[in-house]
């Protein structure tokens, strides 16, 4: 077991560290005034709709405490739905309702909750419990993604999502995040979800990582996580670069989900995407980022951007 990597080993593998990410990429390429666009999921959704980017349908927005009491009305029309804070981070504060059972609502993990608990949860969202800095927030009620059967065997409850890092409009890395029992259905790597790297050129999953260890199987279901071909891969990459173009952030994390019927949908954008994608891909980001940075001019249309991204990956593979 390797306990420590030396700084030289990390540098050789092009690993991007937190300090460098903040100073050389986020601060340089992400103008602060654009942050509200991605930090507020309601604005992100509106922006996406304006640019014809596929997103889960918005059912309702709860803005004031008074409306919390009548939340049952908003829930009535839909069998399954998601309630989440507009300013949430790290997947916190997201409540997924899968169905009904008499007076009770069924959560995605099968447990039942009462309408009072939903109201309390929504109140918490409004009072800013999940927002950065505890500022008052809004609650979004939206379409609950019916995820593609493709991931059924390799995720434990929750929604598996695809994260693409887009730098200057060019996809630079991608991974799929698979919830585990330990991550409590959340697709968050540091909570124990499995991160599986995806080869940009082919859309085929490579290595997986769970809690810093290389894995080839999902820890709960036991199915192989490597060698899976992600469907609609070109559409996913194009969606990612379109998101980057519409929001204007230079260094962006795009989170997508694969819907059974609707195909890839953009869930949220992240102006400070994490670094775990490097572990999932067993490859540092710096090499690709520096290559993209070295271009004087980058192609404008989404197709060429996707092609450029694929070419980086292919060349990386032949190394």
């Amino acid at each position: 077991m390797i306990r420590f990597a030396s700084p030289r080993q990390l540098r050789e593998r092009g690993i991007l560290g937190m300090n460098r990410r903040n100073a050389d990429f986020i601060m340089r390429y992400n103008p602060r005034h654009l942050y509200p666009l991605v930090d507020n999921k309601l604005r992100t959704k509106q922006l996406a709709l304006k640019h014809n980017i596929a997103v889960p349908e918005l059912y309702a927005v709860i803005e004031i405490e008074h409306h919390v009491r009548n939340i049952a009305d908003s829930l009535a029309d839909h069998n399954s739905l998601v309630i989440k804070p507009a300013h949430g981070s790290g997947g916190n504060g997201i409540l997924i309702i899968d169905g009904r059972l008499g007076k009770f609502y069924k959560k995605s993990n099968g447990s039942l909750i009462s309408i009072e608990m939903i109201q309390h949860h929504t109140s918490n969202i409004l009072s800013g419990m999940y927002s950065l800095g505890g500022l008052p927030d809004k609650a979004i009620i939206e379409y609950r993604v019916e995820f593609d059967p493709l991931f059924e065997n390799i995720s434990y409850q929750g929604v598996p999502d695809i994260r693409v890092i887009v730098f200057k409009g060019i996809p630079a890395a991608a991974m799929v995040r698979l919830p585990t029992r330990e991550s409590d259905g959340k697709a968050n790597l540091h909570q124990g979800a499995v991160g599986v790297g995806i080869d940009l050129a082919t859309g085929i999953s490579t290595y997986g990582v769970c809690k810093n260890d290389l894995v080839e199987h999902h820890p709960d279901t036991g199915y192989r996580t490597t060698g899976i071909e992600i469907p609609h891969w070109d559409r996913i990459l194009r969606l990612a670069t379109e998101c980057a173009a519409s929001v204007g952030l230079g260094y962006l994390g795009v989170d997508l989900v694969m819907d059974r019927n609707l195909g890839p949908l953009m869930l949220e954008l992240n102006a400070r995407p994490g670094l775990n994608i490097q572990l999932a891909n067993s490859q540092g980001l710096l090499g690709t980022l520096e290559k993209i940075e070295s271009f004087q001019e980058l192609p404008g249309d989404a197709e060429s951007r996707v092609e450029l991204a694929k070419s980086f990956s292919a060349s990386a593979n032949t190394d």
Binding site: I2, F4, M18, N19, L214
Partner: protein, 509 residues
């Protein structure tokens, strides 16, 4: 801003700060470490009497102006006695009173002084004395002496000098002999001189004090002569005629001798003692204020009133704590609840000491967390819930204080200085982290915060650093420079070496 500009600023600030500090060290001779000692003297007056069972009052003259010395500390030790202090222009009196005094009574007055070159002036302005009615042949003798001296003088100062020379002449004439025979000791001799000066209507008085070079458990007060020239008081040695207050003379009081007055008791006694010890220069400079050379004192925190100095001494340590937090978070990569929360906790530790501080912090946060977990079930709104936690924290602190008071652990009484709001916020954030990211992460963050708080405490209470920052506040520029430099540090964090170690597994396979 590119990295070069930032590093340029960092370098410029650090160099400026260090240059000013170097100037103060090499040119002004300020010590770099607080070890440099200076002499301090502790003088004690012990007033004793035997109580008769009834009410008793004792008044003691205590020093007011101490030319050549600065009073660092002053203590009255008198159990059960009521104490008032009469403040005159050139004198002070401590008045002790008690309803019933029986048996041997001892009252102490103690001051600590150090040398100082601060100018001290007596303030009272005397009226001109009445011409006394001297008996013969004394009157003629005095008349002859003052006539003689007047020839050789221009003003009060030169007159007094000439008179003292004449009176102390090794070959006295019969007039001087006559006056001299009236006095048997320095006290009486000074009185005689004052009497002679009355003949020319020069106001004069005695200045009592003690020789501190004579370390003694039975020190005696001896008088000097003071004359007023219409503008200020001038001091002379009545025996030698030497002008000025001698270097080792600590002025105690002006006027007539018996320094203590007793009503309602028997056998009054007073005893003076002098002891010498060492104190750190910075303490002397701080407490005495402006005890150093002018440039230092004019531009230094030492010139501030003592209570403000204490505030600044604390404030100056905050940037060091912040620098440490920057280091631990940017270079090491430790995670904490809130950026500067650990510094505030560390400040509280100053009062409680590290061990009890950590115990208290852990105790309050753990109990608070338990209450918070229960509150989760009550489904309270965020702000009322935060307020409720704050109230719980205050109640916990109250309980701890009361319990520790019962048990006699005085250290824990200072727990009231704990930043309650910060504690409440910590509990809230920790419980949310606990619920969302699991107990492991919450405890990890909590322990991380506590470790950073302990480290800040160690740095912020380091006596050498406190001294350095207080005497050389320009070092703040160096701290600022280091902060800027770390602000552009883009290397790996120490924890990332562990975090990304998995990347090596692929090669190992």
């Amino acid at each position: 801003m590119n990295r070069l500009t930032v590093n340029g600023w960092a370098l410029a600030l650090s160099v400026t700060g260090l240059a000013i500090a170097a100037y103060k060290i090499f040119d002004l001779g300020l010590p770099l470490v607080p070890e440099q000692n200076t002499d301090v003297w502790t003088l004690q007056a012990q007033a004793t009497f035997v109580g008769t069972g009834g009410p008793a009052k004792l008044s003691l003259d205590i020093p007011q102006h101490t030319p050549g010395f600065v009073i660092l500390n002053e203590n009255f030790i008198s159990r059960k006695y009521g104490l008032t202090i009469d403040q005159g222009k050139d004198s002070r009196k401590a008045n002790w009173a008690i309803r019933r005094a029986k048996g041997e009574q001892s009252l102490y007055y103690r001051i600590t002084v150090a040398r100082s070159n601060k100018a001290v002036e007596w303030e009272s302005v005397p009226s001109f004395p009445q011409l006394p009615d001297y008996p013969e042949p004394y009157a003629s003798a005095v008349q002859a002496i003052v006539e003689d001296v007047r020839e050789e003088s221009a003003d009060v100062e030169s007159y007094t000098r000439a008179l003292l020379k004449q009176l102390n002449s090794p070959a006295p004439d019969e007039n001087v002999e006559l006056v001299r025979n009236q006095a048997k000791n320095t006290d009486q001799w000074t009185s005689e001189i004052i009497k002679v000066l009355k003949a020319v209507r020069i106001p004069a008085r005695k200045l009592w004090g003690m020789d501190i070079s004579d370390l003694d458990n039975n020190a005696v007060l001896s008088p000097l002569l003071q004359v007023h020239n219409g503008d200020r008081w001038l001091t002379f040695n009545p025996d030698t005629g030497k002008q000025g207050v001698p270097a080792n003379f600590l002025a105690w009081q002006v006027g007539e001798a018996p320094v203590s007055k007793l009503t309602g008791g028997r056998k009054p006694g007073i005893r003076f003692s002098v002891t010498k010890s060492y104190a750190e220069l910075i303490d002397v400079a701080r407490k005495g204020a402006a005890n150093q050379d002018s440039l230092f004192s004019a531009f230094s925190l030492v010139a501030l009133p003592v209570q403000n100095q204490n505030v600044y001494q604390l404030l100056l340590m905050l940037p060091l704590g912040a620098l440490l937090v920057v280091f631990l978070r940017t270079i090491i990569g430790l995670q904490t609840f809130g950026t500067f929360m650990p510094i505030l906790i560390a400040l509280a530790f100053r009062e409680t000491q590290l061990f009890w501080g950590v115990v208290m912090f852990s105790l309050i946060v753990s109990i608070g967390l338990m209450v918070r977990f229960y509150m989760e079930k009550l489904m309270l709104l965020l702000i009322p819930r935060l307020a409720a936690i704050l109230i719980i924290v205050v109640i916990l602190m109250l309980l701890i204080s009361l319990t520790s008071n019962r048990l006699g652990v005085e250290r824990l009484l200072s727990i009231s200085l704990f930043p309650m709001v910060i504690l409440a916020m910590t509990i809230e954030r920790m419980s949310i982290t606990w619920e969302e990211n699991g107990a492991r992460e919450a405890i990890l963050l909590g322990v991380g915060s506590l470790l950073v708080a302990c480290a800040s405490y160690v740095v912020m209470t380091n006596a050498n650093l406190m001294y350095l920052m207080f005497v050389f506040p320009e070092l703040l520029l160096v701290v600022l420079g280091l902060c800027l430099w770390m602000g552009r540090y883009t290397g790996y964090r120490l924890v990332e070496l562990v975090r990304f170690r998995g990347i090596l597994q692929k090669d190992a396979k």
